[in-house]
């Protein structure tokens, strides 16, 4: 009884809030809303959604979305912050990679310091081009891509698991995470993040009203998440799994599922944890890691090598003090800190530019997230909203987790820093995704600063 009542009141509240909004801003749109929620491709009269944009009001006649649309400008603020991050990232990539590059190529005919920055610049240029192209592309077409992208992603994830040790899936750093398709190579787990955001945004936007139900609000997402995350964790790629689970949690949270599911998930996690603690030996393996994480300078026996990277990272961060050693003046990048050009690039930022530089990076990411959230919240429909939130969350989660790893706030796991870390295909993916956010911003109801 009580439960029923509660649910009623809960939904009632939401309905009230909804109707209040509608009453204030645009009367008689209930039907339109339900249509919009039901079929994404046939979006009704736009002017009804954008009462405050006189420019858009002029275009109310438009019924169908074109593939490329230049309606409205992109959000400049988002673009500027993004470009700032990209340029900052490229500069820091060069600074942090040239010693490693030179050392790695020192045995070869032509030692070079540019083996990282050169391809990254090319990929950045390519990525920017793709990003702008995507920003003109009407994101609603992505509705159609949701399932195909998911299908392809699942195929690739299965391929990575099944085609190990072939030329397609070579062993890299002891794991099988990469697909080598001719000249391009990438991690399907990266694409899985996008696929998850897309399919969730798609499903949530069409089923938004039923999000509080188990059948439409939890079960399909749970199954999809289990499928994708399951395949990724089998690789095994724990950090990507964590990001995918967090992304799903964020999207479902914003999508409006009941809070109790989170409690349930938490409870489940605790139970699984307890099971593993008492009935498996997983914890025997984890405890020294946790101790190593807590005392990187005095690790338990056998963990000296595993905590080396963390130690070096902390020394790099500490060396920066307030103003840093100066751009390009890092000591730790001279082969002390492993992967200074990749997962640990933020440590080099801290070392060379000090607390000020680190804060600048954090503020830029915070601005990007804030702007991404504003764009999403202003999106003219739930698909745009969910897509924007998902993509913004992906950048935000990765950035925060990366910085947490580098500062030893959480245990060391391989998460790259968006726009900074080396990686051509992932940079292109990221910029294309940002292109989608820019696309959303074109029709988003925000003051485009």
């Amino acid at each position: 009884m009580r439960e029923q009542k509660k649910r009623r009141t809960g939904s009632g509240k939401i309905n009230r809030a909804d109707s209040r909004t509608k009453q204030k801003k645009r009367p008689a749109t209930a039907a339109a809303q339900s249509r919009a929620a039901g079929t994404a491709v046939t979006i009704p009269n736009e002017s009804a959604h954008m009462p405050f944009s006189p420019r858009r009001a002029m275009k109310k006649v438009r019924k169908k979305y074109k593939i490329f649309s230049v309606r409205g400008g992109v959000d400049r603020m988002f673009l500027y912050v993004l470009m700032a991050l990209l340029v900052f990232g490229l500069i820091m990539l060069f600074s942090s990679s040239y010693a490693v590059s030179y050392f790695e190529s020192s045995g070869s005919k032509s030692p070079s310091s540019y083996n990282y920055i050169r391809p990254q610049l090319i990929f950045a240029a390519l990525g920017c081009t793709i990003m702008f192209a995507v920003s003109f592309f009407d994101y609603h077409h992505l509705h159609k891509f949701a399932f195909p992208v998911l299908g392809i992603t699942l195929l690739m994830l299965v391929a990575v698991l099944t085609l190990r040790e072939t030329s397609l899936v070579p062993r890299i750093n002891g794991t099988y995470r990469w697909l080598y398709l001719g000249p391009i190579n990438f991690q399907p787990s990266e694409i899985a993040k996008f696929a998850l955001v897309l399919i969730f945004a798609h499903l949530i936007s069409i089923n938004y009203d039923k999000m509080e139900t188990f059948r439409y609000g939890v079960l399909p997402y749970g199954l999809l998440l289990a499928l994708i995350a399951g395949l990724v964790i089998l690789e095994p790629h724990v950090s990507a799994t964590v990001i995918i689970v967090l992304l799903a949690a964020v999207m479902l949270w914003v999508g409006g599922i009941k809070k109790r599911w989170y409690l349930l998930a938490l409870l489940l996690a605790v139970l699984v944890g307890l099971y593993m603690f008492f009935f498996t030996d997983k914890f025997d393996y984890a405890i020294p890691r946790i101790l190593g994480w807590l005392n990187p300078f005095n690790p338990p026996e056998g963990m000296e090598g595993d905590t080396w990277q963390t130690r070096q990272s902390l020394m790099a961060i500490g060396s920066g003090r307030f103003f840093g050693l100066g751009l390009a003046q890092s000591r730790q990048k001279y082969l002390y800190l492993p992967e200074p050009e990749n997962d640990f690039i933020f440590a080099i930022v801290c070392e060379e530019l000090g607390f000020i530089g680190a804060l600048a990076v954090i503020i830029l990411f915070a601005l990007l997230i804030w702007r991404g959230v504003i764009i999403s919240l202003g999106a003219k429909d739930k698909f745009g909203m969910m897509l924007g939130i998902g993509l913004t969350a992906q950048v935000g989660i990765q950035a925060i987790l990366n910085i947490c790893v580098v500062t030893n706030t959480i245990p060391n796991t391989g998460i790259s820093l968006p726009f900074f870390s080396y990686g051509g295909t992932s940079l292109i993916m990221l910029l294309a995704e940002m292109g989608v956010v820019l696309s959303i911003s074109r029709t988003s109801n925000v003051d485009k600063i």
Partner: protein, 739 residues
């Protein structure tokens, strides 16, 4: 509010943003903690791990002889060749191995093994000369090899004189640390202070590109200027070698010359020594052969023993019974205590009964009634036993101690041996009697020499030393030897009296083999039987023949001790016979070298040698006149008008009544005669033999003052073809003198 967004979405997004803000807050808090609070500590840790100190080698000081210009030991740059195999390209490896093996004179397979190692650094060869380094650089250039071969500067010690005063100089090890001799004694002064170059290195040890270095310059070691004179050292080394050859000395020898007034050692030669440039090679080829013949498991110990022996500085590490040489000390004590005067008489009946005991000790001869002076000249043991008895144990020991025999002399060389002696209360009559003539206690040659210097210089015990002063790299004197005396042992008067007696001994006594005309030599011989030790053959007797003396008598300057360890008893083993001639030869050279004025007695003037005038190139007539004016006889060979050649040549010594042969045509200059055997003859027989052979002899040693002496050595060997008139130096000794 856009249509897509519901209030719930807004609220939930805001909650997410709060989570994000908390996460960022935590991160920023951590950054503040790491960068600002713990930053200094972490920064230091980062710097520490990247800083590698490189030692800057300080150049080891140079060792000079007393002139301050002749270099006895010097460091010069050499190179260590090392490889960084990991940086050598695979295709270059065979070339590198082949070429390095060729340049460094190594086995190619060995080098190839090093080249193929999977390491960052490995040594190939150390102490490589600069020319070889240049060759390697050239090879690198030729094959375009830019990485992988490292040449590190190092220093190597050079001893320009080779096998010369090795046990004094010592040698250094691979890290330039002094291992023996002066190199060891003055190691810290010579080695200086290594500097440090602190540079930042990357994790694999190569330099970082940024300026980050701190340089503490190396402070070069001090230079040593010795009291040893290279010239005097040469005389001693040559003299010993000759003596060893003449008497087939089995166990090496040493000779020490000392300035009696300062204790400065002018020369210290040890034979059976080695080349400090190559200390690990057994210098004596015979010994090496013997070792090679040994079974393999015994070789290592034998090599080690042979090396220890050749490195040993006998003058300060060997202990021996000084024998009759010590009588100069006992005599001084007795004179000082007024127990005897020069004229006191004593009767030697060959055998002497030690008072209060039934012990009889024999003299080497029977001397009958003799004065004290004669007693010294006869080296009469009973006389000195009697003197010892008169002194008594406590007085004897007081002087024994005062002469410095109970302590190390403190000479600035490593390895000085402890002396072995009886203290005053241990000296029972027999021990006292034997000690009185120099038996039954062990001292080192340097002890004996220091005591002799005290007898000579007015009674002052000086500090023997070999380093005169030390210079820093700017030439400032940083240390000067203390030349003050330790104490006065006997009075100046006693010293003077004893000097006179010893002068007489060297002129007409048992020590006359050391006589040098005009230099008023004072000397005392010593023959001591070695204490039987494990390493000695008990079926044979082993002797040490020594001669210790100083000159000139009126103002003693130089004391010299010659010490032969185990001369062949089949030839001779008496101090006067074995060590005397060497003493004479060395002392004469030293005093000549030092420019000491010769003061001849009337008697000596008659026998003095003269030097040949220069007549070559003159007309025969002029030449004959010049030679005759010099009081010499002329012999002309050939029919020419001018003198083409003269024998002896200008400046050579010849007897006062000698002959100069003038060659006037080319035919005559080609005539030669054979040198006859001149050993084992009396003076007149030797003279006759020489005349018959058409040569002349110059006499040294005992023959100058004694008629019973016989010739012992000749400086040009029998059978050598020489020009008629050539002067052969023949040394004479008094036969069968024991002590």
């Amino acid at each position: 509010m856009a249509k897509g967004t519901t209030v719930r979405m807004w609220r939930r997004v805001c909650i997410l943003l709060v989570f994000m803000a908390i996460a960022l807050g935590v991160v920023i808090f951590n950054l503040i903690r790491l960068q600002i609070i713990d930053g200094e500590e972490l920064k230091r840790a980062a710097i520490d791990q990247s800083l590698r100190p490189t030692e800057l080698t300080a150049q080891r000081g140079t060792i000079y002889d007393c002139s301050g210009t002749k270099i006895l030991a010097k460091s010069a740059s050499v190179w260590t060749v090392a490889l960084e195999p990991i940086h050598i390209e695979e295709k270059d490896k065979p070339v590198v191995a082949r070429e390095l093996a060729r340049i460094l004179d190594m086995e190619e397979a060995d080098v190839l093994e090093l080249v193929n190692k999977d390491t960052y650094f490995t040594y190939v060869k150390r102490k490589v000369e600069t020319e070889i380094k240049d060759e390697i650089l050239e090879f690198e250039k030729k094959y375009g090899i830019s990485r992988g071969i490292q040449l590190i500067e190092d220093y190597k010690r050079y001893y320009p004189y080779g096998n010369f005063m090795g046990p004094v100089l010592g040698f250094t090890g691979t890290d330039s640390q002094g291992l023996s001799g002066l190199e060891y004694q003055y190691d810290s002064e010579l080695s200086g202070t290594a500097g440090r170059l602190v540079t930042a290195k990357n994790a694999v040890g190569s330099d970082m590109p940024f300026q980050y270095e701190q340089r503490v310059e190396a402070e070069d070691g001090y230079d040593l200027v010795l009291t040893i004179d290279e010239g005097i050292q040469h005389f001693l080394e040559e003299g010993l070698e000759e003596g060893i050859a003449n008497f087939n000395v089995a166990n090496g020898a040493c000779a020490v010359a000392m300035d009696v007034n300062t204790g400065a050692i002018l020369g210290l030669a040890t034979k059976g020594d080695y080349d400090p440039n190559d200390p690990w090679t057994i210098a004596d080829k015979e010994v090496q052969k013997e070792i090679d013949a040994l079974p393999e498991d015994e070789q290592e110990a034998a090599i080690s023993a042979a090396l220890q022996k050749q490195w040993r500085n006998k003058a300060i590490s060997d202990t021996y019974y000084p024998g009759s040489v010590f009588k100069m000390c006992t005599g001084s004590m007795a004179l000082e205590e007024d127990i005897v005067s020069e004229e006191t008489t004593f009767t030697c009946n060959h055998s002497y009964q030690v008072s209060g005991t039934g012990v009889y000790i024999n003299c080497w001869s029977t001397h009958g009634t003799e004065t004290f002076v004669q007693g010294v000249c006869n080296s009469c043991n009973p006389f000195f036993m009697y003197l010892g008895e008169q002194l008594g144990p406590s007085l004897f020991f007081k002087y024994f101690e005062a002469f410095g025999f109970t302590q190390k002399t403190g000479v600035d060389l490593p390895g000085e041996a402890n002396t072995i002696y009886y203290t005053a209360d241990q000296l029972n009559p027999v021990e006292l009697a034997t000690e009185s003539f120099g038996q039954n206690f062990s001292i080192t040659p340097i002890h004996m020499l220091a005591a002799a210097a005290a007898v000579a210089n007015g009674g002052y015990l000086v500090q023997p030393h070999v380093v005169d002063h030390m210079l820093d790299s700017d030439g400032n004197i940083v240390m000067s030897a203390d030349t003050s005396y330790k104490r006065q042992v006997i009075s100046e008067e006693t010293s003077e009296r004893m000097t006179k007696i010893l002068n007489q001994n060297a002129t007409s006594g048992t020590a006359q083999s050391g006589y040098i005309a005009g230099y008023q030599v004072c000397g005392k011989t010593g023959t001591s039987q070695k204490i039987l030790e494990d390493n000695l053959d008990p079926t044979k007797k082993h002797y040490i023949a020594s001669y210790c003396g100083f000159a000139p008598a009126d103002d003693p300057q130089v004391a010299l001790l010659i010490y032969f360890d185990e001369p062949d008893p089949k030839i001779n083993y008496y101090g006067g016979t074995v060590a005397g001639p060497t003493f004479e030869k060395c002392m004469k050279q030293i005093l000549d070298y030092l420019g000491t004025e010769r003061k001849y007695t009337q008697e000596e003037l008659e026998k003095i040698d003269t030097t040949a005038p220069s007549v070559a190139g003159q007309t025969v007539e002029d030449a004959v006149k010049t030679v005759e004016d010099a009081g010499l006889t002329v012999k002309i060979r050939g029919d020419g008008d001018t003198v083409l050649e003269q024998v002896p040549a200008f400046g050579e010594e010849l007897p006062q009544d000698g002959t100069i042969v003038l060659y006037t045509d080319s035919e005559s200059t080609e005539t030669t005669v054979k040198v006859p055997n001149l050993k084992g003859l009396s003076l007149s027989a030797a003279n006759q033999t020489a005349i018959n052979a058409g040569i002349q002899i110059k006499v040294t040693g005992a023959a100058l003052t004694s008629s019973s002496s016989i010739s012992q050595t000749q400086d040009i060997e029998e059978g050598t073809e020489v020009k008629p008139g050539t002067v052969v130096t023949v040394s004479f000794v008094e036969p069968d003198q024991v002590a």
